[in-house]
């Protein structure tokens, strides 16, 4: 699929070829519509040119829901319709807004046609599929009658399904005790064969220390280890551990609408004054890596050719001097007699950010900047300061998905109040690239665009990119992979992570042995 197709065609057909097409001439309306309404309507119904990418899904035959019902294309269509139904208040609507039609070709084929080029689309269909036979209008009506509720207002949101989900996965829902645990049981009809574990329990333990104590006691097999706990668990012979780079990063964002943050030199100098490696070493206990741009570090979209800013306070001072900021007798930076003074804020309740706040404040004070700091409760922080653009600089983090679409966070059209480009970053070339990335279906070309965008953002430094955290998972050493081949021979293998660092990809094959096994070296 070529996103420049129509543009290239105009070279052959003449510049005004597509503009000379007028849909109005071919359409007639039964109602009286105003001129603008009519034009908008025609534009949608009969545009001169339109990309209509198609996603064709061939479903695996014989996949069953946990109640034994076969999953088919109608369930896929139903899921789409349920999301788009305004009654269900789904927050996922924007994901599927570019969809034009969802068509069931046969019970195992779904054809999805899009209104325009939208490459993040494939990722959005990683969505769980709802069982139509349990949630369609008829089923809901029956449930409403049973519960004595008004069938007119009864929607999926009210259905008992929400606390008793039915899906197609390897484990089926058993019960859920609020704030205690969720129990799942093995699903014997799973299409890939039943998992080894009989039961999967997800426990809710809010306190970090008690999590660790329970882990030692053996009542938890795996949990999310905190950076400061990694060291003492890593070397424990009872456990095996896996770690990898996380999907979110932490940054300092500057309000580029305000002086002096409108100058990229200033932003770069501020970044150079911070010793990020030290932050990673002492705040994160080494459980983090530096990053230079907005893409997920372990994907190909990330441009590894870009080097992080050097920690160089004197270089930062020189850069500030070129922008007109000089140190006065007291060592404070000033320009035309005005001191360099601003406030750095972040949300309370996050100890890492709080520590970074103090470190950064100190680093900037060292080069003569008068920095004040403030910690705000999360919703005050977001609603009063971030959404209303009332800040100089802030510390925050983004949780990223694998898809390289950066439209909401970096496109210049998203700088209005309540939108996510709150730093007010605007760059024509970056805008073009962002649009191209979300329209490009060719992986290689997408990577090229991303690398270029990464370069521009790293050059302009609207954020000081700090670090991406590392996750560590610890497991009892007795947990291994157990496979049975066709001849019935049982093989035990050590758990090894996949290429992307995913250690529980083969979770269905895991089993806990009574004793710690010893493995022979592979050879």
């Amino acid at each position: 699929m070529d996103q420049d197709l129509f543009q290239n065609l105009t070279h052959l057909l003449g510049k005004d070829y597509f503009e000379s097409f007028h849909g109005q001439n071919y359409l007639k309306s039964d109602y009286q519509l105003s001129k603008e309404q009519w034009a908008a309507f025609v534009g949608e119904l009969m545009p001169a040119v339109e990309h209509n990418p198609i996603l064709l899904f061939n479903l695996r035959p014989g996949v069953k829901f946990h109640d034994g019902h076969l999953m088919n294309a109608d369930d896929v269509r139903f899921t789409y319709e349920a999301i788009m139904n305004p009654k269900n208040l789904s927050p996922r609507i924007p994901d599927y807004e570019p969809v034009k039609t969802v068509e069931v070709m046969d019970p195992l084929t779904v054809k999805i046609v899009y209104k325009r080029l939208y490459s993040p689309a494939i990722g959005t269909w990683g969505m769980g599929i709802l069982p139509e036979h349990l949630l369609d209008a008829h089923a809901l009506q029956k449930e409403a009658f049973r519960l004595g509720k008004d069938p007119k207002t009864f929607s999926i949101r009210q259905s008992a399904f929400n606390r008793n989900p039915v899906g197609c996965g390897p484990f089926k829902f058993q019960n859920w005790k609020s704030d205690q645990y969720i129990t799942l049981d093995r699903f014997d009809d799973y299409w890939e064969g039943p998992p080894n574990y009989q039961r999967y329990v997800f426990r809710i333990i809010p306190d970090l220390l008690t999590q660790e104590m329970e882990f030692y006691a053996g009542t938890i097999d795996s949990y999310e280890v905190q950076p400061h706990q990694v060291k003492r668990l890593e070397n424990d012979p009872r456990f095996q551990n896996f770690s990898g780079v996380a999907f979110g990063y932490t940054y300092i964002g500057y309000n580029t609408r305000r002086k002096p943050f409108d100058d990229p030199r200033i932003r770069r100098a501020l970044g150079m004054a911070i010793d990020i490696e030290k932050i990673i070493k002492y705040v994160l206990y080494g459980q983090g890596e530096q990053i230079t741009g907005p893409f997920v570090k372990q994907t190909d979209y990330y441009n590894h050719a870009i080097k992080p800013l050097d920690y160089d306070p004197s270089g930062a001072l020189k850069l500030l001097e070129t922008a007109g900021w000089k140190r006065n007798k007291a060592g404070r930076l000033e320009k035309n007699g005005k001191p360099f003074k601003f406030t750095l804020i972040t949300n309370s309740g996050n100890d890492l950010r709080k520590a970074i706040l103090a470190i950064v404040q100190d680093a900037w004070k060292q080069i003569g900047i008068d920095v004040h700091t403030d910690l705000l409760e999360w919703s005050v922080f977001i609603q009063e300061r971030v959404n209303k653009r009332d800040f100089d600089a802030l510390i925050l983090g983004w949780q990223m998905g694998i898809d390289p679409d950066l439209y909401q966070i970096w496109h210049s059209s998203q700088t209005n109040l309540y939108q996510l480009n709150f730093v007010g970053y605007k760059n024509k070339e970056a805008d073009d690239l962002i649009i191209k990335i979300r329209q490009e279906y060719n992986y290689q070309r997408q990577i090229e665009f991303c690398h270029r965008l990464h370069e521009i953002i790293a050059r302009e430094q609207p954020y000081t990119f700090l670090y991406v955290g590392k996750w560590t998972a610890v497991l009892d050493k007795r947990i291994v992979i157990k496979t049975v081949d066709d001849t019935g021979t049982i093989r035990y293998e050590k758990i090894t992570p996949t290429k992307t660092g995913n250690y529980n990809f083969y979770f269905n094959k895991w089993i806990k042995l009574p004793q710690v096994p010893s493995f022979m070296e592979k050879g």
Partner: protein
């Protein structure tokens, strides 16, 4: 008597009405929107936010929202915004979880504070009194969460027993007596912890009350009569020193619904405190307001009961 009860009920209903208005206003004045309405999710468009607001009536003026909310509450139809569960059902479930913790905690507090306090008062200035004083201040000063950690680590490493949660995880179908004892064991540590602060404060209070009464003339008279000291302390002095505690008894009632956020979080106890705390963070108005309303009712009932109790125990008071 009857007129007192009547007057009380009318007064308290009026108070309750104002409490309901004030708490409703405060919640809506607090910055931040319910997390369902305003998450920092890149995919959330303004149209979706509008739709959520409409669903929760947040687009209506405050007084209309007020009527909606209390209408729903009294007809038992309020649902949590977070998971669409009935609020009353959720609160009842959590209340039943918090109840044993509260009950045992209070029981320990009240049964231990009195002997400790009374003995301190009788042997004032002695070594027992001094060490009790020292211990009380120590317990008041130690942060609860720190003390809890120390206890947990100690118990887990020396006795190798699980302590968190309401019962041993995965206990399954053990015999009933075993299950019962398991519950009691899990109850012990958190309730002792929640009682420590109470014991420290209350025993100080008992001590000072006793000392005040012991200095009265009629105690000297009783001693002069040649009564055994036991009778003087426990009959003449203690009975009078107890009066202020009767009023305190009524005020324990609101604690029923309060729960302790810290203790419940550390011990993974699925109680009221944790639910309310999480509701506040998520700005889940229905839960916050309902908990608020119920605790207001309990406070008012508590004061009413303590008034009545005072009437019963103190013959000097007549209405």
């Amino acid at each position: 008597m009857l007129s007192f009860i009547g007057r009380s009920v009318v007064q308290k209903t009026i108070t309750l009405f104002f409490v309901s208005i004030v708490s409703f206003l405060i919640i809506h004045l607090a910055p931040g929107k319910p997390s369902q309405v305003d998450p920092l999710n890149p995919k959330f468009t303004p149209e979706v936010v509008e739709r959520f607001k409409k669903e929760f009536h947040l687009d209506k003026p405050l007084y209309v929202q007020y009527v909606y909310f209390y209408h729903d509450l009294f007809t038992g139809k309020t649902v949590s915004w977070k998971d669409n569960q009935s609020v009353l059902k959720k609160i009842l479930e959590r209340f039943l979880n918090s109840l044993p913790l509260f009950f045992v905690g209070t029981l320990i507090t009240w049964t231990l504070s009195f002997p400790v306090g009374i003995r301190s008062a009788i042997f004032r200035g002695g070594i027992y009194d001094r060490s009790a004083t020292f211990l009380s201040y120590l317990l008041i000063s130690i942060p609860g969460f720190f003390f809890a950690y120390v206890l947990i680590i100690f118990v887990v490493t020396y006795f190798h027993v699980p302590v968190i949660g309401m019962e041993t995880f995965g206990i399954g179908d053990a015999p009933a007596t075993y299950l019962f004892m398991d519950r009691i064991w899990h109850l012990l540590l958190p309730s002792v912890l929640s009682a420590t602060g109470g014991i420290a404060v209350l025993s100080r209070y008992v001590r000072s009350q006793m000392l005040e009464v012991e200095g009265q003339d009629y105690i000297r008279t009783a001693r002069a009569k040649g009564l055994p000291s036991e009778q003087v302390h426990y009959k003449h002095a203690l009975r009078n020193a107890l009066l202020p505690f009767v009023t305190m008894f009524g005020l324990i009632l609101p604690g029923l619904i309060g729960g302790s956020v810290i203790i419940e979080s550390i011990f993974s106890w699925p109680g009221m405190g944790r639910m309310a705390y999480e509701a506040i963070l998520a700005r889940d108005y229905p839960i916050i307001l309902t908990v608020n309303f119920v605790s207001a009712v309990l406070v008012l009932v508590g004061t009413f009961i303590s008034d009545l109790l005072y009437l019963v125990v103190d013959p000097r008071i007549r209405l």
